[in-house]
């Protein structure tokens, strides 16, 4: 177990990992990493390592769950037992069930569900290593794997958290900041529609701080959005090189 640091922001105003308050962690995104899935993506954000895969649209089992006017979007967020300090039981925890629900609801507004009646689209998310902000990185990857699967969408969904540590509003909290910081506000956004599709918060913020945190998180989302699009394009650039 690591010792709790007393200060999360040093005298220079820098954070534990040397970042400025409004700086994102290192992000690496790859699209189309799994051959069996219809679409897939891998994201590293700080020490987070997360795989997302999409299967579908495909036949839905059990069949009575099917909807006659649209597809059923299903989502499973799951953490590997070795992804955290103390082994996590592989059985889905209450946290994972809640996160599966809010992630699904953050992705749903982006998909033209009515294009594929009587089918299901399954999103599977595996957190291989967790470092704070896994739900956000999962959404970013999940949305890319939907795009990779060729499912028509209104926009990509991208997510990023902001929060408060010591007395500063900061962007993209890592594990320690998340655990002992004052507040955490994860936000998912469809940037072109200016639509917030996931919003949660825990901690204590004044209304003013909350407004600042939401705005900072949206800024972060827009930066990651650029990386998301870059990663999508890169997949096709690579294909072209192989053909030549």
């Amino acid at each position: 177990m690591s010792q709790k640091p007393e200060k999360l922001i040093d005298k220079k105003g820098l954070r534990l990992d040397g970042r400025e308050p409004d700086e994102l962690r290192q992000i690496k995104i790859e699209v189309g990493v799994l051959s069996n899935a219809d679409g897939s993506a891998y994201i590293e954000q700080g020490k987070n390592k997360i795989l997302a895969a999409v299967y579908g649209p495909r036949e839905l089992h059990p069949k009575h769950m099917a909807l006659s006017d649209r597809t059923v979007l299903r989502c499973r967020y799951h953490m590997a037992p070795f992804s955290v300090q103390e082994r996590k039981s592989p059985a889905p925890s209450r946290r994972e069930i809640e996160l599966s629900k809010v992630i699904r609801e953050s992705i749903e507004p982006s998909i033209f569900l009515e294009y594929y009646p009587r089918t299901a689209i399954d999103i599977f998310i595996e957190v291989l290593q967790a470092d704070g902000g896994t739900r956000c990185a999962s959404i970013t990857a999940a949305s890319l794997s939907l795009a990779d699967a060729g499912i028509p969408m209104r926009d990509l969904v991208v997510a990023c958290a902001a929060g408060k540590v010591d007395d500063t509003v900061v962007l993209d909290l890592m594990d320690t900041e998340d655990k002992i910081g004052t507040a955490d506000v994860p936000v998912a956004l469809m940037p072109n529609l200016n639509a917030i599709t996931l919003l949660q918060m825990d901690g204590i913020l004044t209304l003013e701080e909350f407004e600042n945190a939401v705005n900072l998180a949206i800024e972060g989302c827009r930066k990651i959005y650029a990386l998301q699009k870059e990663a999508l394009k890169t997949k096709y650039i690579d294909v072209k090189e192989v053909e030549e």
Binding site: V102, D202, I204, L207
Partner: protein, 263 residues
Amino acid sequence: MASVITRVKQKQIAQLITKGKRLDGRDLTDYREIKVEQGIIERAEGSARVLLGKTEVMVGTKIEFGEPFPDTPNEGVLTVNAELVPLASSTFEPGPPDENSIELARIVDRGIRESKAIDLEKLCIEPEKKVFVVFVDVYVLNHDGNLIDASALAALAALLNTKMPNYEIKEGEVKIKPGHTPLPIRRHPIAVTFAKINDKLVVDPWLEEEQVMDARVTITIDDDSNVCAIQKGGSGYFTPNQVLEAAKMAAEKAEEIRKKLES
């Protein structure tokens, strides 16, 4: 939690809201009538029933001895569970908790925990070894929409009504003494839920409004009008301005509702 509502009614609800009116005659920012009763279950350490219009939620608390979590050796433990009892709605089925009841429990839990409503350090009996565990069981008895606000209010009312047993430590053993001490409650978090219908926000959606809404957002506010928990739900979205508008409105509404607990 979907059930049947006719297209005609869906349209009617949505159109009225665009005009700033609601089918049950409320303003967009009005709550339904709220009734709070405390101490209704004698066997429980604390209890309360909240009526929010026709929505009815009962909460019972139980207190037991237990072990603290290793990362908080000096604090008691809070556990919140919610049951969507089958008798409360045709859409509730018996069985293990589904994602809706888990989400409900976790929203109620987050409000109490993040606002630091309970002084958990006062529930410590022996650091690292023995603490009081507070079980908050939310029992939904009738579902007519906005279970979150009703459950959060009932949970708080029940906690305010909860008594801890007195105890003494003799030769390393914890012995229960006669008499009770009230559970140390410092803060009063209030959850305020908004539904987005036709791009407008309405407070305290009832069942039929929930069936029409695009999305909902719950904002929990503490005694100093700080935000202490938020949860967006539903498959729609909010604009950044709607979110900020909701937060400001929630702060006003929370103050109003908190008064119901005092009277």
